[in-house]
């Protein structure tokens, strides 16, 4: 157990990170991610209000669907990344644990009369991830079998989205905290389900090329630099009416000086976060997340490099403990996404 964002979290269960990671890719891993912040936005104009803070298309999201977005500051820096779902009469939000104390007051501050933000501090979040996750869950909740990637189902006090943070098919289950333990035990009793901790969650998301807030993105990085332009709605790119829009527009028109890329070190040695990246003896960037990818069976990393070094295959040198380690820019994800589209 380790402290994480004010919570005591399991890094690994007895099987260990490697086994938990590989099992999630082969069958199903159950992650307790109840530290994540959950909230609801209710009232006429809720979607339009949220669009003041995010370049995502919130108003265009259909009922029963979920989407990824970033919250931006006035300089176009990323305050947080988050998931939002259209539940019909309300929006359901999931934000990062370490940022909920920033996000929720910020969202509150832009709400017009009649729109209310309800923090859901008494709800737990369980992520069941892997190719066997939905089949296992459908043995007790048959409706789930028909849910598509980024679809949302609601029933029995639960909100279940077919999404996650591993690159695999799977679900995230929001439910009342007092039901979480018994439901988690039920899930662990389903065929092929094994508990998995923060360590496997990190190696899975890294292989999937997904950003970790505080490592790969923060208030000093923009969604253009972070290669998250896909999260900016088409309509929003005509309206330019979100926080930081001027900066983002300038970056899209004129390019950025650095970009987030995948980085593949040669050999077996991992390069961790904050490792300096060089090319031709000059500092050109820094690794933001790095480690060993159990499914890739090789070290994997991501980081920011100067734009002229961002093309796939570009050779790089990583300065690990003062010694140069050969690497190259690699396409993300390292392990193919396997979503139920």
């Amino acid at each position: 157990m380790v402290p994480f964002a004010g919570y005591s979290m399991p890094v690994q269960y007895p099987a260990g990170i490697m086994a938990e990671h590989l099992h999630t890719r082969a069958a199903a891993g159950l992650f307790d991610v109840s530290h994540m912040g959950q909230a609801e936005l209710v009232g006429e104009g809720a979607a339009a209000a949220l669009e003041r803070l995010t370049p995502a298309d919130v108003q265009g999201l259909k009922p029963g669907r979920q989407r990824y977005g970033v919250l931006l500051n006035e300089q176009g820096g990323i305050i947080d990344d988050f998931m939002f779902a259209n539940m019909g009469e309300r929006l359901f939000l999931v934000v990062n644990a370490s940022r909920k104390h920033v996000d929720l007051p910020l969202i509150e501050s832009v709400l017009p009369r009649g729109v209310t933000l309800r923090p859901l501090a008494d709800r737990a979040l369980l992520a069941l991830q892997g190719p066997g996750a939905v089949a296992a869950l459908a043995t007790i909740l048959p409706d789930l079998a028909a849910l598509k990637f980024m679809g949302v189902w609601e029933g029995q006090g639960m909100v279940i989205s077919r999404s996650g943070y591993t690159g695999e098919d799977g679900v995230e289950i929001s439910l009342p905290a007092e039901q979480a333990e018994s439901f988690a035990k039920t899930l662990l009793g389903l065929p092929g389900v094994m508990p998995a901790g923060l360590g496997a969650r990190d190696s899975l998301r890294l292989e999937a090329g997904l950003c970790l807030y505080g490592n790969d993105i923060d208030e000093t990085t923009s969604p253009v630099e972070a290669n998250l332009v896909w999260s900016i709605g088409k309509r929003r790119r005509m309206e330019w009416n979100f926080a930081g829009a001027e900066t983002i527009r300038g970056q899209l028109d004129h390019g950025v000086s650095r970009l987030r890329v995948g980085i593949q070190p040669q050999g077996r040695q991992p390069a961790r976060g904050h490792t300096p990246i060089q090319a031709g003896g000059l500092d050109i960037g820094e690794i933001t997340s790095g480690g060993f990818g159990p499914s890739v069976n090789a070290p994997v990393a991501m980081g920011y490099v100067a734009r002229e070094h961002a093309a796939d295959g570009t050779p790089l040198e990583l300065l690990v403990r003062g010694k140069g380690l050969a690497a190259h820019v690699a396409p993300l994800p390292f392990h193919p996404h396997r979503y139920a589209r």
Partner: protein
């Protein structure tokens, strides 16, 4: 393992002829988790007590391995390069790291097996 000594940094030391074999303890490998890479010192390097001379990388993190005695590195376990998992499966045997030819007596703060077990209990 009565002739094996242990450091507070969770290395073990066993005298073998003129050299001391060094590895990490079962407690250490268990805390590290699955080892994926090891960076071993150069043969011939003169090392001081407590000097970080090797690095062990697990899926979780990178950790230094310290010289529990002073002397000269005379051999490294090259089997670890292709099979770093030996550190997890056989930490006190085939998973040894390096051999040091001591340039004096072993430091007297090294513990015997019972003392080390008691030390681990306090962590």
């Amino acid at each position: 393992m009565t002739d094996t000594k242990f450091s507070k940094d969770h290395e073990w030391v066993r005298l073998d002829g003129g050299a001391a074999i060094v590895g990490i303890t079962d407690h250490a490998q268990n805390a590290l988790g699955d080892v994926v890479f090891v960076d071993l010192p150069e043969i011939g390097r003169e090392v001081a007590v407590g000097e970080a001379i090797a690095v062990v990388e697990s899926v979780k993190a990178a950790s230094d391995v310290y010289a529990p005695l002073a002397g000269r590195v005379v051999e490294v376990n090259s089997a670890l390069v292709d099979n770093p998992g030996l550190i997890n499966s056989e930490p006190t045997a085939e998973g040894w790291f390096f051999k040091i030819e001591p340039n004096g007596p072993l430091p007297d703060d090294l513990m015997d097996e019972g003392e080390y077990a008691a030390f681990v209990e306090t962590l």
